[in-house]
């Protein structure tokens, strides 16, 4: 059928179908995909990312902080929104802990490069999205206390990724332990050998070696 005006009538049929269809559509099914925001919260995908946060282990943020203030993320960050100052001990000697860790989320573009570059599994992407403030500057600079979030929170928002991270850390710990054990055994063996040598030479009583 191709009489003059038929295209317009076809188009009108499509919109009519949508008008009627949207009244009979289940919410979020085919047509009415709007989420009515303050009442309905979006169900975020696991991978969904917004801004970075710092993971800490255990219950105490200060004790459990994984970050060692190596400043790799600060260097790698493309818009340079991270600012880190190393902490010092009582003698003024730098220690492996950040004193200041700020992220300016008005600059951050959520690219996840800090996460990829962190060798200590310390910085991770959050999925918060309600971070507005009445000031353009101060409320949008997140400081260390705001950034520190527990490993449990991390498991809450991204179970798969967090489990993999934990497995990696556990593996690294086991490797380290095994290496330490091996090193200790080596030391012990060397000591024992030396002692045996000494004993053989002097034929004196030997001190028992203490395992670590």
């Amino acid at each position: 059928m191709n009489f003059p005006g038929s295209g317009i009538i076809k188009g009108m049929a499509v919109t009519a179908l949508n008008i009627v269809g949207s009244y009979f559509d289940r919410a979020h099914a085919k047509r009415l995909i709007t989420e009515q925001y303050p009442e309905e919260r979006p169900k975020l995908a696991e991978a969904s990312r917004s801004f970075p946060f710092l993971v800490f282990d255990g219950d105490d943020p200060e004790k459990g902080i994984r970050c060692v203030a190596c400043k790799i993320c600060e260097k790698e960050c493309p818009p340079q929104c991270i600012y880190i100052v190393k902490d010092t001990d009582a003698n003024g000697k730098p220690i492996m802990r950040p004193k200041v860790f700020d992220i300016d989320i008005s600059v951050c573009m959520g690219c996840q490069i800090c996460v990829e570059s962190c060798p200590f599994e310390s910085i991770r992407m959050d999925n918060i999205y309600e971070v507005s403030g009445y000031d353009r500057f101060a409320p949008l600079v997140l400081h260390k206390p705001q950034l520190l979030k527990s490993n449990a929170y991390y498991h809450g928002i991204r179970p798969t990724e967090a489990a993999a991270t934990d497995a990696r850390i556990e593996a690294a710990r086991l490797r380290k332990e095994a290496a330490a054990k091996a090193a200790a055994a080596k030391v012990a063996a060397a000591k024992a050998a030396a002692a045996a040598k000494a004993a053989g030479e002097k034929a004196a009583e030997t001190k028992p070696t203490q395992p670590e």
Binding site: S6, K10, A47, S48, E76
Partner: protein
């Protein structure tokens, strides 16, 4: 009334001429683009594009940052289709450093790239209807479907628009469990949507009279202007970098490249619809054939990446045309020179030629049919 005094162009205007600055704050210049237009009645006799309102120093920032740090910035070039921008940059770097890409990563790049093309062309249908003054229905239908593709992107990459997905020698992450099935199931519903759009739009007499014969561009002029992408193919030139270069896994996939005959706005409009259907075919094959394996070349060090000294030009067929990156390395961890060949900007160069002699309302439609994104034009 001082409407006829000459404001933008040198020399005095004719008594009947009206000069209007369309933009930078105008509802349908697709961003902060400005056109100084001289009209006689409603007929355009002179048009001067003014751009640079969205200049963000993209190239210089990339030269001051590490190689990897330019990757998230490429998302912001053409923010409608960031998936292909990442890919083009990765292709250029891989060419520069001679990096192999694993099989699965190539498939994932093609899947993300073609989905990007699909949603770009879908959104285009809505945008151009908006430029013609339709009251947003087509735009909302297009965005409804685009939303679902963006949901898939979010599940895969964590972001809806700024994917930041490609990496040197692969892609950033593998698909989450069940993602491929989800994508397959969703894309199976897509042809029905395209049919609905076609029924809604292509026969409409008003749309036909607004698009046909407007902004005609001959094949010769299109080639001379360096145009690429659907705008070039609408003028009847058979040139698609996916076929010409045969990069990635495209030679293995069966798809057709459509081209028009007249080169007017209607051909450009139809070409997007036809290309969307071809993209669906590519996606179907890629989703069926995707092998298991690593998604990134483990030999490549992303952080502190240092390609050997040299230069390379890598390009892909982006949704809007030939998207290329020209990179010069001096062996350090920052690019020595970083240049983008944005398809939107180069396609825009013939705007005045297409617009002269048309009505002021056509200028918007022609601009819309080129399908520009100002993030890419101004960089």
């Amino acid at each position: 009334m001082s409407a006829s005094s000459s404001n933008f162009f040198s020399g005095t205007a004719d008594a009947g001429a009206l000069e209007v600055s369309l933009g930078p704050h105008h509802p349908s210049t697709h961003g902060v683009f400005r056109m100084n237009v001289r009209m006689e009645g409603e007929t355009v006799v002179k048009l001067q594009p003014v751009f640079g309102y969205l200049h963000r120093n993209h190239e210089k920032i990339a030269e001051k940052n590490s190689w990897l740090a330019a990757m998230p910035y490429t998302d912001r070039l053409d923010y409608i289709c960031s998936g292909t921008n990442n890919w083009a940059y990765a292709v250029a770097v891989e060419k520069l450093a001679g990096i192999e890409v694993p099989e699965r990563a190539e498939y994932l790049r093609v899947i993300v790239g073609e989905m990007t093309r699909l949603q770009n062309h879908t959104a285009f249908l809505g945008f151009i209807l908006g430029d013609m003054g339709a009251w947003g229905s087509a735009l909302m239908y297009a965005f409804r479907e685009r939303e679902k593709i963006l949901d898939l992107f979010e599940e895969l990459t964590g972001a809806r628009m700024m994917l930041n997905y490609a990496r040197f020698g692969g892609v950033r992450c593998d698909t989450p469990a069940g993602w491929l099935d989800k994508a397959r199931a969703y894309l199976a519903t897509y042809p029905a949507f395209l049919d609905e759009m076609e029924q809604f739009l292509t026969g409409n007499e008003i749309l036909l009279s607004r698009l046909q014969g407007v902004g005609v561009l001959s094949a010769q002029r299109a080639i001379n202007g360096g145009l690429s992408g659907p705008v070039l193919r609408a003028s009847g030139v058979d040139y698609d970098i996916r076929k010409v270069d045969g990069y990635s896994i495209y030679p293995r996939l069966k798809f057709r490249v459509p081209r028009g005959e007249v080169g007017d706005c209607f051909d450009r409009f139809m070409l997007r619809l036809l290309e969307a259907r071809e993209s669906l075919k590519i996606l179907q094959q890629a989703l069926d054939q995707i092998p298991e394996g690593p998604v990134v070349n483990p030999a490549v060090k992303q952080r502190g990446f240092k390609p050997p000294a040299g230069e390379a030009y890598g390009r892909i067929e982006g949704p809007k045309g030939e998207l290329g990156f020209h990179l010069v390395s001096n062996g350090t961890e920052k690019p020595y020179r970083y240049h983008v060949r944005p398809p939107s900007l180069i396609n825009l160069t013939l705007l005045e030629e297409m617009c002269l002699g048309t009505k002021i309302a056509d200028v918007m439609v022609i601009l819309g049919s080129i399908d520009i994104v100002l993030g890419e034009v101004d960089r």
